[in-house]
């Protein structure tokens, strides 16, 4: 009897241990720690994108280190450091590594938060989010891939320009950090001591992100302001920047942000959704060009295509003439041998998903409720920083280059989609089920185009990893065939086009003075 009881007690014990052992916290990957990097003393000379050049912003000379005004600032910091609260220490710790990366993660989180398609109205139409009334359903914005790619590009490019200007004045005036200038002040985080702190690059990063992100995600402006304020405070407390260092950073940020935001008003995005008349026109134009089976929405109720006129939005590195010349040739005619072969391949993967093809399809799916494919490539880029640490200016350059390339890729790809209006595989064979069918034409693949552009730019910036980045792009590309939503030609043609678009950003990088 005793022995038999032991069975049960062992089982109960085992269950209890298992229950206790099940820790519930999720292990998240951590941002790269601070590492000393080249400081790029000539960074102020680099070519800007939105600004004519870094001199366009003028920042007055700071007070001298031995001036009474500056000494008063130092005294104030020393006093603050003598009286740090728990929360002060926490924010110093929070902001000690790259602010650029932290804000990029924030932007991606916001995209994921707002990447939810509006639900249909009872009458079968779909409501559209309104920037004028962002809190009403559907909340503004619907951060779908085109919206996200554009937001990432604006934010990171404004950051890049503002940091170029910041670098110009850093080395023009050469006023170092409070903890370097004054022995009363400790460096409460690891600092790049040879990098001047006037104007504060952290203030630039905080303020540009705040100014732009609150326009792209207005419902979160309070949280964004809090983040920006906290970052600046952390740098003051840690001995990295003085109040005037921060104010000068803010001034640069505000100038560049205003310029970037002016561009958002005139880039054509407000026309990208179109209206029923235009939608009918787009379809009939495609039919006139030879589309025999134009794309139809397979959603119930029928949903208008996602931003069908996004292809007309102003690009960063490419003119609209260049876009037209980059537009891929027509896809194989529906019903042709080439088409049927491709359709059969999609059907094969959709009906025989292996563990590995499914894993790949899921890994790259980046669909509803995620930070989208451009967000995924921002994640890949930021992860490279663990291996190849860069200063904030170079991080901004990297992010600006890939995000301009991906925004251009999205625009070119959407132009192609609307131009050909090609049906999805499931439209041609209703038995093809998917990982989630995107609601816009098939040819060419957005994922493939984004991935071709981003991997080309990152491969240029990190040549040791070029082969691996290309392999990732190739996997992202084929993932859409595995997922049942793209023909192989959608993906392969999209990838090739994306690479060409990426090469425009590479040309910019080759000539921007950073090499």
């Amino acid at each position: 009897m005793l022995l038999k009881n032991n069975y049960l007690y062992s089982l109960i014990l085992l269950a209890t241990i298992t229950i206790i052992a099940c820790k519930k916290e999720v292990n998240e990957r951590t941002a790269p720690e601070f590492k000393a990097t080249a400081i790029d003393a000539n960074g102020g000379d680099w070519e800007t994108v939105l600004l004519t050049n870094s001199s366009e912003v003028s920042i007055p000379a700071p007070d001298a280190v031995n001036s009474s005004a500056y000494q008063a600032e130092m005294t104030q910091i020393a006093q603050l450091q003598g009286n740090l609260s728990y929360n002060d220490k926490k924010i110093i710790n929070t902001w000690k590594s790259s602010g650029m990366v932290k804000w990029n993660e924030m932007a991606r989180a916001l995209v994921a938060k707002y990447n939810l398609p509006p639900e249909a109205n009872p009458d079968g139409t779909y409501p559209a989010p309104s920037a004028a009334n962002p809190g009403a359903y559907p909340k503004f914005p619907f951060a779908n891939p085109p919206y996200a790619s554009r937001a990432y590009a604006y934010v990171s490019t404004a950051l890049y320009d503002a940091l170029v200007a910041c670098w110009k004045y850093k080395f023009q005036y050469n006023r170092k950090a409070p903890s370097v200038n004054d022995s009363r002040i400790k460096a409460l985080e690891t600092l790049q001591t040879d990098l001047p702190s006037y104007p504060s690059e952290d203030a630039v990063v905080a303020q540009v992100n705040y100014r732009l992100l609150k326009v792209f995600f207005p419902l979160d402006s309070v949280q964004l302001l809090q983040m920006a304020t906290e970052q600046k405070k952390a740098k003051l407390l840690s001995g990295a920047a003085s109040a005037t260092d921060i104010a000068a950073g803010d001034a640069i940020a505000n100038y560049v942000a205003t310029k970037a935001l002016a561009r958002t008003k005139t880039d054509g995005m407000s026309l990208a959704a179109g209206n029923p008349t235009l939608w009918a026109e787009l379809e009939s134009k495609a039919v006139a060009r030879g589309a025999t089976t134009p794309w139809k929405s397979l959603e119930i109720p029928v949903r208008p295509a996602m931003l069908p006129l996004f292809g007309n939005v102003k690009m960063w590195n490419i003119s609209s003439e260049q876009r037209d010349s980059l537009r891929p040739p027509p896809p194989p005619p529906v019903g042709s041998v080439q088409f049927l072969t491709a359709l059969n391949e999609v059907k094969h993967y959709a009906t025989h998903p292996s563990g590995e093809t499914w894993r790949i399809a899921m890994y790259w799916s980046d669909g509803v409720g995620t930070y989208t494919p451009p967000g995924h490539w921002n994640e890949i880029a930021c992860n490279l920083l663990a291996k190849y640490p860069l200063n904030e200016l170079r991080i901004a350059r990297m992010l600006s280059l890939i995000n301009m390339a991906m925004a251009d890729a999205g625009i070119c790809c959407w132009d192609t989609k609307t131009y050909y209006y090609y049906p999805r595989p499931s439209q041609m064979d209703g038995s093809i089920k998917t990982i989630g069918l995107p609601n816009f034409p098939s040819y060419t693949s957005g994922h493939a185009t984004f991935s071709g552009a981003a991997s080309t730019v990152l491969g240029y910036l990190f040549p040791q990893d070029q082969a691996q980045l290309e392999a990732m792009a190739a996997e992202a590309t084929i993932s859409r065939v595995y997922g049942g939503i793209h023909y192989r030609f959608d993906s392969e043609v999209g990838l090739a086009c994306g690479k060409q678009i990426g090469s425009f950003a590479v040309k910019r990088a080759q000539a921007d003075g950073a090499n």
């Binding site: 038999k4 009881n5 069975y7 049960l8 089982l11 109960i12 085992l14 269950a15 209890t16 298992t18 229950i19 099940c22 820790k23 519930k24 916290e25 999720v26 292990n27 998240e28 990957r29 993660e105 991606r108 989180a109 994921a112 938060k113 939810l116 398609p117 509006p118 639900e119 359903y137 397979l298 959603e299 119930i300 109720p301 959709a350 998903p353 563990g355 499914w358 894993r359 899921m362 890994y363 799916s365 669909g367 509803v368 409720g369 995620t370 930070y371 995924h376 994640e379 499931s426 093809i432 089920k433 998917t434 990982i435 989630g436 069918l437 609601n439 049942g484």
Partner: protein, 303 residues
Amino acid sequence: MKKILILPAMLVVLTHTHAQMPDDGFTMKKGELCLVAGYEQSAWKEYWEGTRLRQNENVGMFTSKAFMPMAGFGITDKLIVFASLPYINNSSSAGYMEGKKGWQDVSASAKYQLLQKQSKALLFRLFGTAGFSLPVTHYPPDFLPFSIGIGSKTAQARLIAHTVVNNHFFTTLQAGYIARANIKVDRITYYTDKQYYSNEMRIPDMVEGSVQAGYTSNRFRADVHYRTAQSTSGSDIRLNDMPYPGNKMNMQMAGVYGLLWVPGVNGLGIGVTADKVFAGRNVGKAFMWMADVQYVFTPFKKK
């Protein structure tokens, strides 16, 4: 499209109420083996997105079919061990999301009679159950509602109080706790209540309970029952988002059960269950039915 809901197969499996299950109040004799082959079908058109009951025309009718082989064995008159392994097939009548099918989680448990009191017409028994489950295949858990399970390793413990009056009328009260381990998904980041930069997803534990009342004889058994399952944590499906395995999945259901011991064949029984989910959160408002054949015999009799 997409943005759906579920009745995770996990929960479906918990609803079975035939004889000699880990969560009922019936016993087996030492050496007895009970083999069960069950078929279950559950379907819903409406689901709770958080607390909002809604339909989704891009899912239409969601159907989950399960084949449920199970075995129970009496090690002693007081200790029974169980094992089961369902095969599940999930699909929907509308939309273009891929259905999923396959062998799900193997579960094993032991039920021990802790206490027995008899006084005149009243019999009272108290059981303790402990068990675990783990996925047997690498099915994708992060494609709900089509995923065949949550992909989590679980451990559970429960208490069962069983009262029989006049040898025939019975009530069973049952309560259990199911600890569920975090899972790995194919994505590297995901957004739920915030953005997580991890492929690890938190799966809430569950508290489960039921009440049964019925009649049993050596010819048939019948009961009515109420069952509840509540997540101890987890977040809601966001408006028009997809569900995910870490959602707070709660449900209450009620149903009836009947078991007929086939006359002339000792130990052969046929059972039928029907249940309706009437309240829930982040689950489908499902109707489910199950039919099973069970055979109880003593395979290793000492000569």
